[in-house]
Symmetry: C2
Subunit: 200 residues, 2 copies
């Protein structure tokens, strides 16, 4: 096939590296860019660079922030003695959406996964221990994803945290999702739901 | 909802301006960018700028090119007396994929659409007339999309080109697509297919 423009092909190639963007979509996006005014393309390009250069990890909790300490850790309304441990900043967003949690977070930056080469040392676990060590009494909620990596991380953290007598540990419930259907739930979810039954 | 990072939100906003990218996908892309090494993000940003700054319209046919004249117009293997008129550069790619067309193209840059404010003056029509005027005898194939705008453009061009006695005009066939099904074809397609029947 004839190649019309190397620069355009290059952009198609770059776009198709993004997750969920196939070659066809990448091509559509590249032609869209070609038709946009220069100012909006520059804006997108600058925005990309800004995200890499100006977004950091919060020095307290490992969440993303433009400042040194993130907006949640800085807030005086948040209960600093209730720490919810999550894998990614997007998990923080998901929990924040519920408007139900008044504590603070600790973002690990992933989950333990030997297959992907993610060891506990690469996660923000040491900073979690430091943080907890500096507090008198604290409740830690483990909110990893209920998959193999998440379970491994939960197990690992539970063992570590058990050595702190002033820490009470819990994990978020696994069970049938609201609006879900017993009949169509998988066995694993259903046995977790039975196991985690709550007295009424 | 709490905003974790203005820069990240800005990038989500920029991504969601792209066609077919909703807010959720934009967010996934932005977090992906956050995790990429700086070099690859810079590469994407530069590639965006390059496409705007270094990709031009071919001065002969209006197709996109990194040079003054596009690779198809420059090629000596192409029949310069057979011009296929299309709306967009992507249409050129589609026809090139068939490996069946040995002529050259003329890219209008869109189709006449009063509702979207696209008038014939905004399309590469004058350059088409100049080009045809400079040739002795030429065959023009109109290959607009078979939608309202495309039909309007075909009609408009046909009227213009009829005034050149040395031009033979044709349009690509409309009918049942290969692998298609009479039963499930819409009425418009089916009546075009009947109308455009070919003696065997």
């Amino acid at each position: 096939m004839i190649r019309l423009s190397d620069h355009l092909d290059e952009l198609v190639h770059e776009f198709s590296k993004l997750p969920g963007i196939g070659r066809k979509t990448a091509q559509r996006l590249a032609y869209f860019i070609l038709k946009q005014p220069e100012a909006s393309v520059t804006q997108l390009a600058e925005s990309l660079i800004n995200v890499k250069n100006k977004v950091h990890q919060c020095t307290v909790c490992g969440n993303i922030t433009d400042d040194e300490i993130c907006r949640i850790c800085v807030s005086e309304k948040r209960n600093k003695l209730l720490i919810c441990v999550v894998e990614e900043p997007t998990d923080v967003l998901a929990i924040e959406k519920t408007n139900d949690f008044s504590g603070v977070y600790h973002v690990l930056g992933g989950a333990i996964s030997p297959l992907d080469g993610v060891t506990p040392e690469q996660l923000n676990i040491l900073s979690l221990l430091d943080r907890i060590g500096a507090l008198d009494s604290v409740e830690v909620i483990l909110a990893m994803n209920p998959d193999v990596e998440g379970e491994a991380t939960t197990l690992y953290l539970t063992r570590l945290l058990k050595s702190f007598p002033h820490v009470s540990i819990s994990r978020i419930a696994r069970g049938i999702p609201i609006g879900g259907d017993l009949e169509y739930s998988d066995e694993a979810t259903l046995s977790r739901a039975m196991e985690g039954r709550v007295r009424i």
